[in-house]
């Protein structure tokens, strides 16, 4: 596959055919899976597969610059942006399956078949010649040729793109900005609030049992009881907490003494 990509449009025709069919099947099935899977994260993964396949196709078509832009900008930046927003909105958000409009799916299927037939017929009727023999335009200096085009013929659209990007950045900042409805609490107010709550110190840290130091184990208070405060609240809805068991103090002492003894014995063995 790599030599097909490296050769670009001048690659061996049979090899190009094989690679094209592999990429077409992979990207087509990934696209279909994208509209079928329930979870938005799985959708994003499927979209990444499609984008990487398309990047490979760009390389086969003699557009190495676009292939790398596709990987870096689309798969790297845009898809990561999607994932960021997914994390903010809630990773487990999935579709509702209630149909608000009657027969929407059936009409969509009809529309899809119609559009597909229309477009395929249109393309089939168009007299597309074979790919012209690639000149200097699609060869090794693809990048400098594109740069020349962008900065001569397309210089005005290019400037407009700059304006568009600035506007988009400003718009995103304005939309993401949140006005404060209440004034920010001062340090004195925070201190008063903490005093009023009755808990001065921070929450105890979890996992100080003699046998376990996992984050789902609650901390042991000086009086021997466990503290539910010490276990993170996100663990309980995910059903990973084990019910906190109370280990009596003498048993803990015995466990610790046993471990110390064992370690001492191991150290003695190592010395002799």
């Amino acid at each position: 596959m790599t030599h097909v990509l490296a050769a670009g449009p001048n690659a061996d025709a049979a090899a190009v055919h094989i690679v094209w069919w592999i990429l077409a099947i992979v990207s087509g099935s990934a696209a279909i899976a994208m509209i079928l899977v329930r979870r938005a994260v799985h959708c994003a993964i499927m979209l990444a597969v499609v984008m990487l396949c398309l990047a490979t196709m760009y390389a086969m078509l003699g557009a190495p610059f676009l292939a790398f832009v596709q990987i870096i900008v689309y798969t790297g930046a845009v898809l990561m942006l999607f994932l960021f927003v997914l994390m903010l909105i809630g990773i487990s958000s999935s579709d509702s399956i209630v149909e608000k409009i009657k027969g929407q799916r059936q009409w969509t299927g009809l529309f899809a078949i119609g559009l597909l037939v229309l477009l395929i017929l249109g393309i089939g009727h168009a007299a597309l010649g074979p790919a012209v023999p690639q000149g200097a335009a699609n060869g090794t200096n693809n990048l400098s040729e594109i740069a020349t085009l962008i900065f001569t013929t397309y210089v005005f659209p290019f400037e407009a793109t700059g304006a568009l990007l600035i506007t988009a950045a400003l718009g995103a900042m304005v939309l993401a900005h949140r006005e404060r409805t209440v004034p920010r609490p001062s340090q004195r107010e925070l201190a008063a609030r903490r005093l009023a709550s009755g808990q001065l110190a921070p929450d105890p840290s979890p996992g100080v049992y003699a046998l376990h130091d996992a984050a789902d184990r609650p901390a042991l208070l000086p009086d021997g009881t466990t503290s539910e405060l010490s276990v993170s609240t996100v663990l309980s809805p995910r059903d990973v907490t084990e019910s906190p068991q109370f280990v009596p103090a003498e048993q803990r002492v015995a466990i610790t003494a046993e471990r110390v003894e064992r370690e001492l014995a191991q150290a003695g063995e190592a010395e002799t």
Partner: protein, 99 residues
């Protein structure tokens, strides 16, 4: 390899993306389907550029990518704003303008 293969694949991907936009309810997934449609268009542009042996199609595809990036930024910011107000990313829940 004839560019007709690439254009056909691009048509198929475009239609799949369109179906996704119409069928899915999660606004983020709808956005991803729009991205799929844009990608399909780019593939057609690059295929035609290779057919004509010049680079204009590739430059247009490059511009499409830039516009798509800007569109994603603003779109996701709008989505965040809607999510903040309605606590949902479903397009069915943004119904304040419904009579």
């Amino acid at each position: 390899m004839s560019p007709i293969y690439y254009v056909t694949l691009s048509v198929i991907l475009f239609v799949i993306g369109g179906v996704g936009v119409l069928v899915r309810r999660n606004a983020i997934v709808i956005f991803m389907c729009v991205e799929l449609m844009l990608n399909a268009c780019n593939l057609a542009f690059v295929a035609f550029a290779s057919m004509w042996g010049n680079l204009h199609g590739q430059v247009i595809a490059f511009f499409v990518m830039v516009v798509a990036a800007a569109e994603v930024v603003v779109g996701l910011a709008i989505l965040m704003a809607i999510y903040r107000a309605r606590r949902s990313a479903s397009v069915d829940d943004a119904n304040l303008l419904k009579y």
